[in-house]
């Protein structure tokens, strides 16, 4: 007890000494360029992610416009391939991942009672290299021969011998994204391990913190693998190596093994924090504790563990031996067990609660239903013999957009609406937020649900033109796409309005919300928890 008080005294003293430094607050652009404040950096990440979401979305609009009718109308096939490639890269590395990092920056210190992230200068750097990475990637689209056109999965040798010269820029840009992610992940781990308030024991951590901790370990494990594989692509293309070229003793399928060893954990990097968000929101609006906190933690950890031994289910048609196909099929099916545990937990949390349906809850409920639909199609894809039919068709496109758009992105919207009052100090406009939700919900299903049918009927993915039987459904899908794209602009309206003003938000604007972030005023002051809070 004495040592506790002593520590607090020392902390208070240090605080006084550095007070002057704290008040050094540059204005204008320099505030943002030099900031080491987790809230500022969180805001930067979130704005950047949303900007990239709109850029990547604009590319999706080009794709859907070209596919509105059979025949080549608007773009040539080479540009079409650049659009699908860069759309994928931007949405994965520019929208979803930075959005989660932004949420982590804002919320993790406030959830664990820490004054800031553990490594604030590195935090600044890990954000500010990102705009350069994407400037390079987007700039490559204007090169002679065009930008990357080999799909976001950049399979060799299409990305080596047969790619345009912008590949070097693509590789460099992915390297920078990887460095940024790894730094962000290290920061999250160090913060959670070291800066928890004294009474914040592991099994009291909010689930968003738990899921992000596990995500950060996944990032550290696999981002170097991605860096390795892009470097091999670089040396194969420019320096005469033959990692992926059979003529020099290499193997193009080895590329896919290395890529998906990164790629499958990457998929969970983009969904585990969503689980954390939804596990915070559903109890808050059901006014009832999460049904199984411990089993949620264990389920997250099992999913993360399994993610390392299922990668080759992306490669069933590459000609693996039967034993390999069986192994990866069984392991992949196993993922359904912990994922099921999560969904059952959310439903059990709702059961006999007292629910209200504010916008964060609406997005969270839509997440549970639509993510589960993505899970079902995932289970179907795990079954190797039928995967031979689904593989590389629109069925796969439908599947991963259900888990990434109505999964990851819906959870990010849920989080944004949940914490927006804390960030801005104002309640958002409920009407426009609900419009945003309902328009998105309807259009996203018009957009992605019929893609299942296209895939089953045999339409391959990544084609700029298609046989006539697919015409009508593609038209419906495109209309859904345009509607979904436009609906996202409503979000800009809501956020700008809330940032500018509106009804003052209380410290805890949601009746059932739990956690340290609701103990500080709204908007959260520039510095929070300079002395550690008490934890119940």
């Amino acid at each position: 007890m004495t040592s506790m008080t002593e520590q607090n005294d020392i902390a208070a003293q240090q605080h006084d000494e550095t007070n002057e430094h704290h008040h050094y607050a540059p204005k204008g652009i320099m505030r943002w360029l030099l900031t080491t404040n987790h809230k500022d950096i969180g805001t930067l990440y979130l704005i950047f992610a949303f900007t990239m979401f709109l850029v990547g979305g604009a590319m999706a609009m080009v794709i859907r416009a070209e596919l509105f009718q059979p025949g080549l109308q608007l773009v040539d096939p080479n540009f079409f391939n650049q659009m699908t490639t860069v759309h994928g890269l931007i949405m994965v590395f520019g929208a979803v991942m930075p959005a989660f990092t932004g949420l982590a920056n804002w919320m993790i210190p406030m959830m664990i009672g820490a004054p800031d992230m553990a490594l604030p200068r590195m935090n600044n750097w890990s954000f500010w290299i990102l705009p350069f990475a994407f400037a390079i990637l987007l700039g490559s689209l204007f090169m002679e021969g065009g930008g990357p056109a080999f799909g976001w999965t950049f399979y060799a040798p299409l990305s080596t011998t047969y790619s345009s010269d912008s590949t070097a820029l693509f590789v460099f840009s992915v390297h920078i994204m990887g460095i940024s992610s790894i730094m962000g992940a290290i920061n999250v781990i160090v913060t959670i391990v070291n800066l928890r308030a004294p009474d914040m024991s592991w099994m009291k951590l909010p689930l968003f913190v738990w899921t992000w901790l596990i995500t950060a370990f996944l990032l550290i494990a696999v981002m170097p693998v991605l860096a390795g594989v892009v470097t091999m692509v670089l040396t194969d293309k420019y320096f005469g190596t033959s990692f992926f070229d059979a003529a020099g003793g290499g193997d193009p399928v080895m590329f896919q093994h290395i890529f998906w060893f990164f790629g499958h954990p990457e998929v969970y990097i983009m969904i585990l924090p969503s689980f954390g968000i939804v596990s915070a929101i559903i109890p808050a609006f059901a006014r009832k504790p999460l049904f199984g906190y411990a089993s949620m933690v264990y389920a997250t950890a099992s999913i993360a563990g399994l993610s390392f031994i299922v990668w080759a289910h992306h490669m069933f048609t590459t000609g693996m031996p039967l034993f390999g196909e069986l192994f990866f099929m069984y392991c992949t099916m196993l993922i359904a067990v912990p994922t099921g545990v999560k969904v059952f937990n959310w439903v059990a949390t709702m059961w006999r609660g007292a629910m209200t349906f504010e916008v964060p809850m609406l997005f969270a409920l839509a997440f549970v239903v639509l993510f589960t639909i993505g899970g079902f199609s995932g289970l179907m894809l795990a079954i190797t013999p039928v995967d031979f039919q689904y593989h590389d068709t629109y069925f796969v496109v439908a599947h991963f957009h259900y888990v990434l758009v109505t999964g990851a992105i819906f959870s990010i919207y849920a989080a944004a609406y949940y914490w927006l009052p804390k960030w801005t100090g104002h309640m958002f406009n409920e009407f426009w937020a609900k419009m945003h939700f309902w328009c998105s919900l309807v259009s996203v299903n018009v957009l992605f649900f019929p893609m299942h049918f296209l895939g089953l009927a045999g339409m391959p993915r990544r084609i700029p033109d298609y046989a006539l039987q697919f015409a009508d459904v593609n038209q419906i899908v495109s209309i859904g796409g345009f509607a979904f794209g436009l609906s996202q602009l409503l979000f800009v309206v809501v956020v700008v309005k809330a940032a500018r003003g509106g009804e003052k938000a209380a410290a805890k604007p949601w009746e059932g919300a739990e956690g340290l972030e609701w103990t500080v005023p709204s908007p959260a002051p520039y510095h929070t928890f300079e002395t550690p809070p008490a934890v119940k």
């Binding site: 040798p157 912008s166 906190y293 590459t318 545990v341 709702m350 079902f376 391959p460 046989a467």
Partner: protein, 378 residues
């Protein structure tokens, strides 16, 4: 009222789309082979299981959403954690998964057994066409998209099999186990015929195996399934299954034709073709095989495919020009056309490239010149 004004036309629109979409099947194709049948059954089984689970889970959830809402004045319960329930909802899915895995394993084992085939076809993908070689017979040919460019560019009405038609389909006998060996000359392609439930990647430098046994004669259409560059969407697969006797007579006629062609080639060596004829055939050959990359105007796509117009090699070095057309250029997207085109076509296309678009070298390349380069390489 306002809402109704908005909703009604939307619904009518959707309904009209739904009725128009009737000609596209909404479910997985059942296919024609025993394997594709089993795959379809597996697909339906898992689909129904997912539906039942979804019905139960979403049912409980929506019941809860309707009944357990604050506006009905309910007080929230406070229960959580129950080892019994948690064990149960871990164990039950596990059992269901085992139930799915058993038929899946059996089907997979059957699919991967390509022993005892009666006919073997080597399928080679290249940008953006398929090549078929009957290993037990002296027959091989390329199979290229037959849809005219003008239909793709919306200048002509699209035909019924738009993008799903080729110049020379693969022909196989019915009720025969046919083994496919897949490989590629450049990037990875994937040979897919939905009605056989066969999809296998064609990897450059490696050989993959697949097989089928088609019980009914007919025409079966598929597409390349792996992104393989610019014209990935334009390399369909068409397979014709014929009764075995019919297949044999087809095989004999094709072999005779191929031999006649080879004899014709030899005769050509002594002939000099006039410029008009060379240029005419050259343009047709160029537009079909070269223009996708080097563009109809010979200017290429800067940064991707080099221009032939004004190119140093084309303007001066005829031997190097012929070699690159025959054998391609290692480490680039330029494929060799020595196997694919006849001597006459090769001579014509080289002549065309050396005289079109203001390249006016005035040089004529004859079949004998091509043959000379081919001999020189041996």
């Amino acid at each position: 009222m306002y809402l109704a004004k908005l909703v009604v036309p939307c619904l009518t629109l959707l309904a009209s789309f739904a009725s128009k979409a009737n000609d596209m099947p909404l479910n997985l194709t059942k296919g024609v082979t025993d394997i594709s049948d089993r795959v379809y059954d597996l697909h339906m089984t898992i689909f129904y299981i997912c539906c039942i689970i979804g019905f139960l889970v979403f049912g409980v959830m929506f019941y809860s959403i309707v009944r357990h809402r604050k506006s009905r004045g309910v007080k929230p319960a406070n229960f959580h954690e129950s080892t019994k329930i948690e064990l149960l909802w871990t164990a039950i899915p596990f059992v269901i998964l085992i139930g799915m895995a058993i038929p899946a394993t059996n089907t997979l084992i059957a699919m991967e057994n390509s022993d005892d085939a009666d006919l073997t076809v080597l399928v080679t993908g290249s940008q953006w066409k398929w090549h078929y070689r009957y290993l037990e017979h002296d027959l091989e040919y390329y199979s290229v998209l037959a849809t005219p460019r003008r239909q793709i560019e919306n200048k002509l009405a699209k035909g019924q099999n738009y993008l799903l038609e080729v110049d020379r389909p693969l022909v196989i006998p019915t009720n025969t186990k046919v083994r496919f060996l897949m490989t590629s000359d450049d990037v990875i392609h994937s040979w897919w015929v939905p009605e056989f439930a066969v999809k296998k990647d064609a990897n450059p430098g490696f050989i993959n195996e697949a097989w089928t046994n088609v019980p009914t004669a007919g025409i079966y259409r598929g597409q390349c399934a792996e992104l393989c560059g610019k014209d990935h969407g334009f390399m369909p697969v068409v397979v014709i299954a014929k009764e075995p006797e019919e297949f044999q007579s087809w095989l004999a006629s094709q072999q005779a034709e191929q031999q006649a062609k080879q004899a014709e080639e030899q005769r050509l060596l002594a002939l000099q073709m006039p410029k008009d004829e060379l240029m005419d055939l050259g343009k047709r050959t160029y537009d079909q095989f070269c223009a996708a990359c080097h563009q109809p105007n010979g200017q290429g796509l800067p940064g991707m495919f080099p221009a032939l117009k004004g190119s140093d090699m084309v303007m001066t070095d005829a031997a190097a020009h012929i070699d690159i057309v025959l054998y391609g250029k290692a480490g680039t997207a330029m494929a060799g056309f020595g196997k694919q085109l006849s001597l006459k076509e090769l001579a014509a296309v080289v002549t065309y490239e050396r005289n079109a678009w203001g390249n006016d070298t005035g040089e004529l390349i004859q079949a004998a010149d091509i043959e000379a380069r081919r001999k020189a390489a041996m």
